[in-house]
């Protein structure tokens, strides 16, 4: 009954009710997007880091993985020491470098990862086989497209260019053995994976056995932090970064987006509150006579209050349902914009739908709508019946 009366009351002024619901829907969509943004980046990045089960990264001291061109010398010695630490099950060394592919009419520049194919955690093979021997490489689709080559083709690959001699340096002939999908690349970035020793020899990193980072897998999750601390104590040239550390550092760098999300979520709640409370207040003002008559014929104060509150809830609920759908669309749009963020892996979703967070946000929105209707409802319930009826009749 109360719901029927509330809906009938809103239907009396269709234009304004529709506008209010539309406004509330946009506010709810914004709230939904900002909720998804606040937690999405973090969860998406965490899932990406743990994709191949490596819980610890070792980067040159003072840096994040691939944040600078700094490298770690003595990779084999470090790996030997790491393997003796209790709990460490896999150690994967990685060297990153830029490579040049001289073609007949142009030169392609790409990113290269040097690693051990048996323990690598940078890519998954799509077709073909892995780069197992010194003259092999695997490439991603972007690289194959840019070079217009396929599996089995041989390419000249260089790591430098000497301007005085006008010649490429660190050159090798490598055969494309497989196509791979790399996890940590930004959208459209071309990349290849080459055996670590080959890339070290090409870049001149071999004499000092340099790598860009190590990825470490720990057999038992409860041992991650003790292993990290142990590595940090024993290795002076590296920072041992656990997934939690990496997330907190990324959090610090992307703090702006979280704060923006929090501010806009608050603004959207405020807009929703203002819209509902304004509309319900005006609706009550217009129906003072009607409410007084209801009270005069015996309708209880509680019933009147509940009916007005339900009006606010109906607007909030309708707006939230519409906002849920609208929010999904706008989240995709906003995500497509942020996907072009340079340097961030394309696999990161800025707007991740996480049921609990989203339902909590929308429930909060509904509560705000109900609270927004409380004051006008209290005013309606506290009307002096006789005076309201007299004023309605006289004026």
């Amino acid at each position: 009954m109360r719901w029927t009366l509330a809906v009938a009351s809103l239907a009396r002024h269709r234009t304004r009710s529709a506008l209010a619901v539309a406004g509330v829907a946009i506010a709810a969509a914004l709230l939904l997007d900002m909720t998804m943004l606040s937690s999405g980046m973090r969860e998406s990045f965490r899932a990406l880091l743990l994709r191949r089960g490596f819980q610890i990264r070792l980067a040159p001291r003072g840096t994040l993985p691939f944040d600078t061109e700094a490298t770690i010398p003595g990779a084999a010695d470090i790996m030997g020491r790491l393997r003796t630490i209790t709990g460490v099950s896999v150690v994967s060394p990685v060297l990153g470098a830029a490579i040049h592919i001289p073609l007949a009419d142009r030169t392609i520049t790409s990113f290269a990862v040097g690693n051990d194919a048996r323990v690598q955690g940078d890519y998954e093979l799509v077709t073909g086989r892995d780069a197992d021997s010194a003259g092999d490489m695997v490439a991603n689709a972007e690289f194959l497209r840019a070079t217009q080559r396929g599996l089995g083709d041989t390419l000249r690959v260089a790591t430098g260019y000497d301007p005085q001699l006008r010649a490429f340096s660190g050159e090798r002939r490598l055969v494309i053995r497989g196509e791979a999908r790399f996890f940590y690349l930004s959208a459209g970035q071309s990349a290849v994976a080459i055996p670590l020793a080959t890339l070290q020899a090409m870049t001149g990193a071999a004499p000092q056995d340099r790598v860009s980072l190590f990825m470490v897998k720990v057999g038992n999750d409860s041992l991650v932090e003790p292993v990290r601390r142990s590595i940090q104590r024993s290795e002076s040239l590296v920072d041992a970064i656990s997934t939690a550390d990496a997330l907190s550092r990324v959090d610090a760098r992307l703090r702006y987006f979280r704060q923006l999300g929090a501010i806009l979520a608050t603004v959207s709640l405020a807009i929703g509150f203002a819209l509902v409370t304004t509309l319900v207040s005006v609706s009550v003002n217009e129906r003072i006579g009607e409410i007084a008559v209801m009270r005069a014929i015996g309708v209880s104060r509680q019933h009147v209050i509940q009916q007005i509150v339900v009006e606010g809830a109906v607007i909030g609920l309708s707006g939230a349902v519409l906002g849920l759908a609208l929010g999904q669309v706008t989240a995709r749009w906003l995500n497509s914009i942020l996907a072009h963020f340079p340097g961030l892996p394309a696999a990161i979703d800025f707007f991740l739908f996480q049921g609990r967070a989203v339902w909590t946000a929308l429930a909060l929105f509904l509560v705000i709508s109900i609270v927004a209707g409380l004051y006008p409802a209290w005013r309606a319930g506290s009307l002096p019946i006789a005076r309201a009826l007299r004023e309605e009749a006289v004026g």
Binding site: G23, L30, Q164, L237, A252, L264, T330, L334, H340, F341
Partner: protein, 284 residues
């Protein structure tokens, strides 16, 4: 271009610089040989002042050169440095080359030219010489390196579209309600013989005034929030960069939008009111 001579910048990560490309700063009591310039962030964090002696070295723990802090420089408002806790140290070129074993090599040359035509000529001549150099216009480099901010800017614009849509509907709703509240006044005016056109005009003028007043309050509020945002983020990221700016263009857009919506909503509501009979408006 606008820069004469050469300059090499090396970024230091806070606490532990990366090997090969970094310099360790240690307080020493020995006499300085040459001077360096450091940025204000490093000076504040390391408690360094002009005249202090420090050792700069290529790797942690390796012997380096003793130098004296000769200048403390402001950080440039460079958007690409936001969220990075880097320090900047400026050394004499030959000293840095010696320190990191770079030989007589540099990463880049910056060339000043008198005008745009001069820049074009210089680029053509360098290209002709073509000893492995690739000249870039500063403008092109800026475009290349500002990709992050173009993405952030597009994101902000998208958010602005959503919030403007919500704000516009809110404004429209409020103005419709406000005009609707005047139904008894309008009915009285119509019964007194005031023409429909005059009533519509009066309502539109009122809506315009509300919009103008709202715009003034909004612009003032926007300006105050901008100042707060800048103060907060400049402190958080320790940069003189301006994060939010109220430009004439933005004010003009906001005021125009407010007026168009206000007057539009006022006209719409007024037309609906004058179409109804005065007695119906009075509820009779």
């Amino acid at each position: 271009m606008g820069v004469n001579g050469l300059r090499l910048d090396y970024a230091l990560s806070r606490g532990h610089p990366p090997p090969m490309l970094s310099i360790v700063i240690l307080l020493l009591l020995q006499a300085p040989l040459r001077t360096i310039a450091i940025d204000e962030r490093l000076a504040a964090d390391a408690g360094l002042a002009i005249g202090d002696r420090v050792v700069v070295a290529a790797t942690p723990g390796s012997p380096g050169d003793t130098v004296v802090v000769g200048a403390i420089v402001h950080r440039r408002p460079d958007p690409s440095e936001i969220a990075r806790a880097d320090y900047r140290v400026y050394l004499h070129l030959d000293q840095l080359q010696g320190l990191i074993g770079y030989g007589d090599r540099v990463d880049r040359f910056a060339v000043a030219t008198p005008d745009t035509a001069g820049t074009t000529r210089a680029i053509e001549q360098i290209d002709e010489a073509a000893f492995g150099f690739r000249p870039w216009r500063s403008r092109d480099i800026a475009v290349e390196t500002s990709q992050t901010f173009r993405v952030v800017s597009r994101f902000h614009k998208a958010i602005a579209v959503i919030t403007i849509a919500a704000g516009a509907i809110f404004l429209l709703c409020i103005l419709l309600l406000k005009v609707d509240e005047r139904r008894r006044d309008v009915a009285a005016l119509r019964l007194l013989g005031i023409s429909r056109r005059s009533v519509v005009r009066a309502v539109i003028v009122e809506a315009a005034m509300v919009s103008v007043l709202g715009s003034i309050v909004g612009v003032t509020l926007g300006w105050a929030i901008t100042a707060l945002v800048n103060a907060y983020y400049q402190a958080v990221y320790r940069t003189p960069l301006l994060f939010a700016v109220v430009t004439g263009e933005i004010v003009a857009f906001a005021v125009t939008l407010s007026l168009v919506l206000g007057i539009g909503a006022g006209a719409l509501a007024a037309m609906r009111l004058v179409r109804a009979s005065p007695l119906a408006l009075l509820g009779r």
